[in-house]
Amino acid sequence: MGLVAFFVIAVVALLGALGLVLSRNSVHSALFLVANLFCVALLYLSLNADFLAVVQVIVYAGAIMVLFLFVITLLNPSHEEAPNQLAGQGWIAGILAVALLLEVGGVILSGVFSVIKSPAVPPVVDWGDNVHAVGTLLYTQFLFPFEVTSILLLVALVGATVLAKRRL
């Protein structure tokens, strides 16, 4: 039963990804990506990452994608994309992507990393309140990265403002 749910969600996620890549209309691509993000959020839920699932929806799908859509409409993407000009780029892209997939897939399935194979039964975890647990970690063990990240956000803010100005 649980496995079926997983596969359904997985298929939708994949379709969303393919839609993103193959769609001629930028807005459609953005919406496909939103769908993908939702599916991934559901998967997070299945993995006992409640906090992250919610953050994914609010921040990624809610804020970042909205921003994308703003820019898409700002840059007026109604034109059809011209056919690919770089010689052989399509072929190269395809081949390399497949190569990467096979490589990573091979690594995963080959059983080199015993941790992938052995848990036939997923281990029992008791994290209690996920938000509480993550929060605790953030403010104790990962305090320094947390603070640095906040500075990073400040930098991004300043950068965006500078870029947006027509004249410095």
């Binding site: 990804a17 993000l37 994309e81 991004a156």
Partner: protein, 101 residues
């Protein structure tokens, strides 16, 4: 609905690959950027899966940071794209090749 770990990893790999392909194949910078987001997402999924199966919350904390950074990156990246392509008629990444030898 917890699936075995390999399932999550394969899914993640597929999503990543699609993102890679999208980045290389498309000429629209916005689509390319969204492909990058897709790749990041795939990586996040891997992190969370391992966090679950290794019983450590560190993976989730990492994902937290990745999301934050992704947000910052999107902001700045889109700002750049807007400044470059603001004045142009159609947006094509191949038009920006002034560094050509």
């Amino acid at each position: 609905m917890l699936a075995p770990l390999p399932h999550y990893l394969i899914l993640s790999a597929l999503l990543f690959t699609i993102g890679v392909f999208g980045f290389l194949y498309r000429k629209n910078p916005l689509i390319m950027f969204m492909s990058i987001e897709l790749m990041l997402n795939a990586a996040n999924l891997t992190f969370v899966s391992f966090a679950r199966y290794l019983g450590s919350l560190n993976g989730q904390v990492i994902v937290f940071f990745v999301m934050t950074i992704a947000a910052a990156e999107v902001v700045v990246g889109l700002g750049i794209i807007v400044s470059i392509f603001r004045a142009r008629a159609d947006i094509d990444v191949d038009d920006v090749h002034l560094l050509k030898d």
